[in-house]
């Protein structure tokens, strides 16, 4: 839930709002339902497996080559996502709060946090997420509450935005918003009990969908189109409007830092997942071996795009890939594993 919610401060809604318009919140709700439906069988399969994680499932499906291939795909997708998020966070920090600071300095700080956070055990990241979640949710809810008064519900009309066809057509890219769903699927191997894997994942996906939808609604009320389609960081813009009387305004600096903290947890988890997947597949002595190289790769990816616009375009262009990795890959592995078992029996 923490990893999902940390994405709220990222520019995840920019392109959906540009293409779907006022119907984005409906599209998000549908995407959430779809995510739960696709997550369920993967989590149930792992629960039935009794031990191991998605990489072990890959081994069942395709043997050692399959395991390595899946680890490489996961690693590549996660490193790309980490790089894009690192760059976006650095750009956001510089744009909103520190205009004279070089971008590389912000990148160094973010990368340092991500490397340190990802080098520990999975259970440490889980504890960190649990510790941070109430604060993160509180700040998001406060910002939403503070922005409601700026908007008019009629700005949401027409409800379907650019049309139902567009809402249904953009479901695949929207599934990329649920990429952190890989975390429970990869970390379940270290869990003491797996029996809540399905339920806890579904609850987190459902809660996040509701939160994202609510954020989108309030955002579109306060920043209706066409303005709303040109704002890269919706939650930050909403936070700049939050006023609590004469003495509580312009507190966006605090929100920025709390959400940067959430992003650091997100990056730690992403790099950790990538390192764990590769360590499992290639029999590294420990996942820590892979942290520094993956971090360097992510930083390289982050610095590749020449400008902020390109970062956003590239990140969104990769959305179908993320959706395929997060939801398509586990389904494919389940099917292959089943076929292999059937083949072995015959």
């Amino acid at each position: 839930m923490t990893l999902l919610s940390a994405q709220l401060s990222h520019p995840i809604l920019l392109f959906p709002i540009q293409t779907i318009g006022n119907g984005t919140w409906i599209a998000v709700l549908l995407a959430g339902l779809l995510a739960i439906l696709l997550y369920w069988p993967a989590a149930a399969a792992l629960q039935r497996l009794g031990h191991g994680n998605l990489i072990d499932l890959a081994r069942q499906a395709g043997g050692a080559p399959g395991e390595m291939a899946v680890a490489l795909i996961l690693g590549a997708a996660l490193v790309f996502d980490a790089g894009a998020v690192m760059r976006e966070t650095a750009e956001m920090t510089i744009s909103f709060a520190y205009p004279h600071t070089p971008q590389t300095f912000a990148m160094v700080a973010v990368t340092m946090c991500a490397l340190y956070g990802s080098s520990g055990r999975t259970v440490g990241i889980i504890r960190l997420g649990r510790l941070f979640l109430p604060g993160l949710l509180l700040t998001v809810l406060l910002v939403i509450a503070g922005s409601v008064g700026w908007g008019e519900p009629r700005f949401l009309l027409p409800l379907w935005g650019t049309g139902l066809q567009r809402i249904l057509g953009d479901q695949v890219p929207l599934l990329s918003l649920f990429l952190p769903v890989l975390f429970p699927l990869l970390s379940v191997g270290e869990a003491r009990d797996r029996q809540h894997l399905v339920r806890s994942g579904a609850v987190a996906l459902g809660a996040y969908t509701a939160l994202l939808s609510a954020t989108t609604v309030v955002y579109l009320m306060a920043f209706p189109l066409p303005v709303g389609g040109s704002v890269a960081f919706p939650l930050h813009f909403m936070s700049r409007l939050t006023i609590g009387g004469r003495f509580l305004e312009r507190l966006d600096g605090i929100w920025l830092c709390i959400w940067a903290f959430g992003t650091a947890i997100y990056l730690s988890a992403i790099l950790h997942m990538a390192a764990t997947a590769l360590a499992g597949a290639f029999a590294f002595p420990s996942h820590r071996v892979a942290i520094l190289p993956l971090g360097a790769l992510a930083a390289t990816v982050a610095l590749f795009p020449p400008d902020m616009g390109r970062v956003l375009v590239d990140h969104f262009a990769a959305a179908p890939l993320f959706a395929a990795v997060a939801f398509g890959l586990p389904q494919a592995l389940i099917l292959l594993a089943r076929l292999r078992r059937r083949g072995a029996r015959t």
Partner: protein
């Protein structure tokens, strides 16, 4: 392990020697509290920045100045001509020993010339600026340049410049003489399809130095700069400036402003004085309160958009110099009808004006958005061109609820 520690020890000074690019001390800045935007005769932008002079303020027991050296608001206004606001800031910085910052910008005033030409490019610059948040109050100067209003603004009893916009905001919220509008609200309504923005209007009153006996007796509803008064701040906030998208179209009086707010459901309380229906040579004063939001019914009549609006006010009788007892139902009914007529007397010309200006500050267009299948269909309808065909019927109902502290007529002698 030792190598790792050595690496950290070597890297740490590198980190400490860098950073702090954005670090600035409080005393190294000038805080721009007010910003004025005008059209210079050359065609460029005339930007005026009103700076707070913190060093002239007392600060409790520990003072920066031994005695407050200003009996007026502690500020200075600087102006320059430039192509854009950031360029203007750079030019102004050249003569200053501290850097200007818009982090505490509280108010933006737009000159009339610039308003009529179109403000979008300049306000977009401000909205995009990382130091601006869109929560600044924004106002329209009437019959004047914004820089003059900034220079002349000396509210009674104020020394701290930051109190000035806050004080005006408080007054606007309390008395609804002018609508409080922030930059974000203005920009949103400017861009959205189905509504137009508006601003509080402000102007210099050139008649405040007269003798009180020279004040006009016959009062009509005033616009900014027209109030019959003597003394106080030359700058007054009164009435509304109506925009059609990003261009200024005209100004409303204070009564029209209050009914515009009523049509939007934002009127709150207003004090209205009108002829007593039973003793016409005298005037009654009522406090109008808009307890319920207006009820709208949007429809198409012969292809043209039409809206029916039901306004409901609650009234409190504050002054009845004619001595009539308005408590009995029959008399009360007459008073209620007279109050409703008084409101309608202002609303119809208001709606005519808005139609003439092809502006929709109420946001009637938003009522029609939901009737279209999707955004493309709505945009194809081109509301901005249809607004002049909009028909509006307003019905006003008044319910007298209270009579002040006395329930009888205003007399000290005689019985009921």
């Amino acid at each position: 392990m030792r190598r790792r520690r050595l690496l950290c020890i070597l890297l740490l000074p590198a980190l400490l020697l860098t950073a702090c690019w954005d670090r600035t001390q409080l005393e190294d800045r000038y805080y721009v509290i007010g910003l004025g935007l005008d059209r210079h005769p050359s065609g460029k932008l005339l930007v005026s920045a009103q700076l707070a002079m913190a060093q002239l303020l007392a600060a409790g027991l520990l003072r920066g100045a031994a005695e407050p050296t200003e009996s007026a608001v502690a500020c200075r206004t600087l102006s320059t001509v430039a192509e854009s606001i950031p360029q203007a800031m750079r030019i102004l910085n050249a003569s200053l020993t501290r850097s200007l910052t818009l982090k505490h910008l509280r108010a933006v005033v737009i000159g009339e010339d610039l308003g009529r030409e179109g403000v979008e490019p300049y306000l977009m610059e401000l909205w995009r600026h990382p130091e601006s948040r869109g929560t600044e109050l924004i106002a329209q100067a009437r019959n004047d340049y914004a820089y003059r209003l900034l220079q002349e603004c000396q509210p009674l009893g104020e020394i701290n410049l930051s109190r000035v916009p806050e004080g005006y905001l408080l007054q606007q919220k309390r008395y609804h003489l002018a609508p409080p509008v922030r930059l974000h609200q203005f920009m949103i309504r400017m861009g959205v399809s189905g509504a137009d923005p508006f601003l509080p209007s402000t102007a210099l009153n050139s008649g405040i130095d007269r003798d009180p006996v020279e004040l006009e007796a016959e009062l009509e509803s005033a616009r900014a700069g027209e109030l019959e008064r003597v003394g106080g701040n030359r700058v007054e906030f009164l009435g509304t400036a109506i925009y059609r998208k990003d261009r200024l179209k005209g100004f409303l009086t204070v009564d029209e402003t209050q009914l515009l707010l009523a049509l939007r459901g934002e009127m709150g309380k207003a004090y209205v004085t009108f002829p007593d229906p039973i003793t016409p040579e005298r005037k009654v004063t009522l406090r109008f309160q808009q307890e319920n939001l207006p009820r709208y019914r949007a429809s198409f009549r012969d292809g043209a958009p039409h809206v029916n609006v039901d306004l409901l006010f609650e009234g409190e009788v504050l002054a009845v110099p004619g001595g009539t007892d308005y408590v009995p139902p029959a008399a009360r009914g007459r008073l209620e009808a007279a109050a409703a007529r008084e409101a309608e007397r202002i609303i119809w010309p208001l709606l005519d004006k808005l139609r003439m200006w092809e502006a929709d500050p109420v946001g009637f267009g938003l009522l029609f958005r939901g009737r279209f299948r999707d955004r493309d269909q709505w945009l194809a309808y081109k509301w901005e061109e249809r607004v002049k065909e909009l028909g509006v019927d307003v019905s006003v109902k008044m319910r007298i609820r209270r009579y002040g502290l006395h329930t009888g007529p205003d007399r000290t002698r005689g019985g009921r």
